[in-house]
């Protein structure tokens, strides 16, 4: 009796332990998978968006990158000094941010009078904002072919609900928004804003590359 019980116990314990370990493994896999899925979404979307972007440049209005998308590319943003570039999406039903930087619909188009707001996740598309410094150039190419150069003036940390950003009025400015602090693992109410002001507008065939080089050099 006793010996039988003694034999049965460690076996059951080991089985429970193995089961628990497998559960933990699966749960860990699931959690990791969720994280990896967000990463993949962010990375793969930019590839698909590149195609939709060329369609946008060809004059198509609102070219959705995939048929069920509720967003479409409106501009391409690059920071030549850091070698970073990303395709900016129209802010649609709130899904846009998962795929790329989103241009907030309440704000004017980049380059138009007023403050154009572009937001993105701090851990993916706008991770590079931490390295952006005043004086850096930010280039925005719009679907209509205009390329606008902005120069970063200053950076700022604001509360999400009281950003103080007024989109209407004033000169053409750009506000690049992401979460603050960088590297934090949990969401918070603070936002990091990179302010830039327009320095020139040009069409690609008007020798803009030159101006671009002098700016970065």
């Amino acid at each position: 009796m006793v010996s039988a019980q003694k034999r049965a116990h460690p076996k059951a314990g080991r089985m429970a332990a193995t089961l628990a370990a497998i559960c933990l493994l699966l749960a860990g896999g699931f959690v990791f998978g969720q994280g990896a899925y967000l990463t993949a979404k962010a990375e793969i979307a930019q590839v698909l968006l590149a195609k939709a972007w060329t369609r946008a440049q060809d004059g198509e209005t609102a070219p959705t990158p995939w048929p069920w998308a509720d967003t479409w590319p409106v501009a391409r943003l690059s920071v030549p000094s850091l070698g970073e570039r990303a395709i900016v999406l129209a802010e649609g039903g709130g899904e846009a941010l998962a795929f790329g930087p989103a241009h907030l619909a309440v704000s004017p188009a980049p380059g138009d009078a007023g403050t154009s707001i572009i937001a993105a996740h701090r851990d993916t598309h706008f991770a590079f904002l931490r390295d952006v410094e005043p004086g850096d150039e930010v280039i925005v190419e719009r679907a209509d072919g205009e390329r606008i150069a902005f120069r970063v003036t200053h950076t700022q940390i604001v509360h999400a609900e009281r950003s103080g950003i007024q989109p209407a009025g004033g000169p053409a400015r750009l506000a690049l928004v992401t979460c603050w602090p960088f590297g934090s693992l949990t969401p918070g109410p603070l936002r990091y804003v990179v302010w830039a002001e327009k320095i020139m507008t040009d069409h690609p065939d008007a020798g803009f590359e030159l101006a671009l080089n002098s700016g970065t050099g």
Binding site: A20, L24, A27, G29, Q34, G94, G114, V158, V177
Partner: protein, 742 residues
């Protein structure tokens, strides 16, 4: 001892592991939901919802604020057709359901048979019915708007096109249903011995031509000189993918009571499954076999007499006050002119390959055109023109229908793809451009295959009237919901006849019939003669030419019903005459309405003969008010005197998106981002919220500035945590395994 300690250790380890696993699982769920909601922002404006708050199959309209939606009213439609002989009395019942928490004004654009005589509007609230009154359009709108502002329930029925109407219903309370009933009078179309009645359910989205580029109107901000009312005829369209998966957003039920007046042969619906019950000789009831149908394809009911020798003439009268109105439908004998030799022809085929035709429609059009080309004989001449927002002719001028030329044309047609806008005018002008106007030995026919998805009908009618010459125009309607108003009026203006292809399997049969009509001689010089002093007025006047298989249809106002009327016409050099006794007519209701409607239509069409706009307007208005008909200048309005909405509560305006017609390919229509759009509301703050405007001044931004979206994902944390969990689990598994080895 050792073994027992091991056992205990293993047991507690197992428990610890289980707890970690459960905790990890809970954390996963939490993080997952966080990830889903990582862009939410806390404040939702009143009357609007977030996707996460919706738990039923409601239709949602986007607002300017990302992720915030408004539920749209739902419209269920019931159509009852009472058919007596060729006379159709239809009752459309629309149930407006407001699923939202706000007071709502619903606007629903819906199709009607072209030139239907709409003469009644009733609004049902609970047990009460409120009867609509006919007023001049502007006046009706003012009455409606006053009632709307005062919080009274009101409904307004306006005509946008003779086959497109708008119902507006103001002050539908939260969760409330308002029923609007519309009645109209119509005549079944007789063609080749088959009666056909059409209940249009879908609207083919209209293309609005523009000076630069093109676009399918959808945003309500378009104002183009060619189509000044563009915003009124372009309701938002729901993308088929966005329609609720279960149940119908715009369900339609249809039933028909048919009293044919002769022994009935086959009764059938062309595109929908129906139950037909023959209740008595000559009578039948029809209902849908599979329950409600979606509003994406027209309902067409056809019936024929059991024996082909059924009487070829039908006369109906209605007496209203001291006036008697007559409806006559007389079918000339089929063998008339059958042995006339076929005359050589010059046929110009015009095919619409604009984006609206993409999919099923384009296949139908291609098939039909190839069928038609193969029917040509070597003595004929032909040309093929295709158009979208550009235009192309296969040959610079009409060429002989030689085998080589036909092969070239057929090859061209096979390669056609549907894309681009619908710039119909240049193609129409090119087709009517006759390089040999004096060649009398040949008939010149223009066969025009299109879905008529255009908004500039007026310009096209004018072009037909100016350029027709000896040509005759034969529009062929393609698709599940062609613009029949455009087709039939273009056919009348072009002195041809209108044919409709509804599905690909009908192509051969329908085109065969059209070609028989094209090849048979036309009956001209039609006239109806009445006894002295019997006739007061007859419409249409003059009677149009008749193609093979078509009946003479006319309405008249009579001063006496004694004696006989004589109908005569010329066909291939012979005179056809038929005598009908006026005393021998069947009484029917609604004939007066049909007469009024015909008079309005005929007056409207005098525009093409150069009548002054003022004269036309005066005539239309007088007739519409006399017969209580909705027209271009008159609307029906019903107002409940009891106020319902507390004036302090805001009212939200919602356009109810129409369904994309069946077989329609929205992707192929350029610039097709048809986001559901809503405009106008009494509360200006709410208007700003609802209008998806670009204008930053229109946004409600306070001194706190723009609220910024969440821009962090738990991505890194999840990956770290997941990796850690897997690592622990692996470690543990290995440890367990090693202990077993010991």
């Amino acid at each position: 001892m050792t073994s027992s300690r091991t056992r205990n250790a293993a047991g507690s380890q197992a428990w610890l592991g289980l707890m970690i696993a459960i905790a990890a699982f809970a954390a996963t769920i939490f993080l997952w939901s966080e990830a889903q909601a990582d862009t939410l922002d806390p404040a939702t404006p009143e009357g609007m919802v977030r996707l996460s708050e919706v738990n039923e199959g409601a239709l949602l309209l986007k607002t300017v604020e990302a992720g915030v939606y408004v539920p749209a009213p739902l419209v269920a439609t019931d159509i009852a057709l009472d058919i007596s002989g060729p006379v159709v009395r239809a009752t459309i019942t629309q149930r407006f359901e407001n699923p939202s928490e706000a007071w709502v004004e619903g606007t629903y654009v819906f199709p009607m048979p072209e030139d239907a005589g709409v003469d009644r509007l009733r609004m049902q609230i609970g047990e009460r019915f409120i009867e609509g009154e006919i007023h001049e359009r502007q006046q009706a709108r003012q009455i409606y708007e006053r009632a709307r502002a005062a919080g009274q329930r009101a409904s307004l029925l306006e005509q946008e096109r003779p086959n497109m109407f708008t119902t507006s219903v103001a002050n539908i309370g939260p969760g409330e249903t308002i029923i609007v009933q519309i009645e109209y009078q119509d005549v079944a179309r007789l063609r080749d011995g088959t009666f056909e009645v059409r209940a249009p359910l879908a609207i083919t989205p209209r293309y609005i031509p523009q000076d630069v580029g093109y676009q399918l109107a959808s945003t309500g901000s378009i104002s183009r000189s060619s189509v000044p009312d563009a915003h009124r005829i372009t309701p938002p369209i729901m993308h088929p993918d966005s329609e609720p998966g279960e149940g119908l957003r715009l369900p339609v039920t249809i039933r028909a009571n048919l009293d044919a007046g002769f022994e009935l042969g086959p009764v059938a619906s062309r595109f929908h499954a129906t139950y037909v019950e023959h209740t008595a000789p000559g009578q039948a009831t029809v209902r849908l076999a599979d329950g409600p149908i979606p509003a994406d394809r027209d309902f067409v009911l056809t019936w024929r007499p059991a024996n082909e020798t059924a009487p070829s003439a039908a006369l109906f009268t209605e007496t209203v006050g001291d006036e008697t109105y007559l409806l006559a439908q007389i079918l000339p004998p089929a063998q008339l002119g059958a042995d006339t030799p076929r005359r050589p022809r010059e046929t110009i085929f015009v095919i619409d390959n604009s984006g609206s035709m993409a999919g099923e429609s384009m296949r139908q059009a291609r098939e039909a055109l190839i069928f038609a080309l193969e029917r040509l004989e070597p003595t004929d001449r032909f040309n093929v023109i295709r158009f979208d927002n550009t235009m192309e002719q296969v040959f610079p001028d009409a060429v002989d229908a030689s085998a080589v030329n036909l092969a070239t044309a057929i090859g061209f047609v096979r390669r056609l793809d549907a894309e681009g806008g619908t710039e119909m005018l240049p193609a129409l002008v090119a087709a009517l451009n006759d390089s040999r106007p004096d060649e009398t030995g040949r008939v010149r026919q223009v066969v025009f295959l299109t879905d008529g998805a255009i908004g500039n009908e007026q310009q096209l009618f004018e072009a037909i009237d100016v350029g027709l010459g000896r040509s005759r125009l034969f529009p062929v309607g393609i698709g599940s919901a062609p613009n029949t108003y455009f087709m039939s009026r273009a056919a009348r203006a072009g002195r041809g006849t209108f044919t409709h292809i509804g599905q690909i399997s009908d192509v051969a049969e329908v085109m065969e019939k059209l070609f028989t009509a094209l090849e048979r001689p036309v009956m001209t010089e039609l006239d109806a003669l009445f006894p002295r002093d019997a006739l007061a007025e007859i419409w249409p006047a003059p009677l149009p030419d008749l193609y093979y298989g078509e009946p003479v249809v006319m309405t008249a106002r009579l001063q006496s019903t004694e004696g006989v009327m004589l109908v005569e016409g010329e066909l291939a050099g012979e005179t056809w005459r038929e005598q009908l006794s006026l005393a021998n007519t069947r009484p029917a209701s609604g004939i007066a309405t049909l007469f009024g409607r015909n008079r309005i239509r005929s007056i409207e069409e005098t525009r093409f003969q150069g009548a002054y706009q003022d004269t036309i307007d005066a005539g239309v208005l007088r007739t519409a008010l006399e017969f209580s008909l909705v027209s271009r200048l008159t609307s029906l309005v019903a107002v409940d005197v009891t106020p319902a909405r507390p004036v302090a509560d805001p009212l939200v305006q919602r356009d109810i998106p129409v369904m994309a017609p069946d077989g329609w390919d929205l992707e192929a229509v350029s610039d097709d981002r048809i986001d559901p759009v809503q405009h106008a509301a009494l509360d200006t703050a709410l208007i700003d919220q609802l209008r998806p405007g670009r204008d930053p001044n229109a946004q409600a931004v306070d001194e706190n500035g723009v609220p910024l979206p969440a821009t962090a994902t738990p991505r890194e944390m999840m990956m770290w945590l997941g990796a850690l969990m897997m690592l622990i689990a692996l470690f543990w598994l290995i440890a367990n395994r090693e202990r077993r080895l010991w």
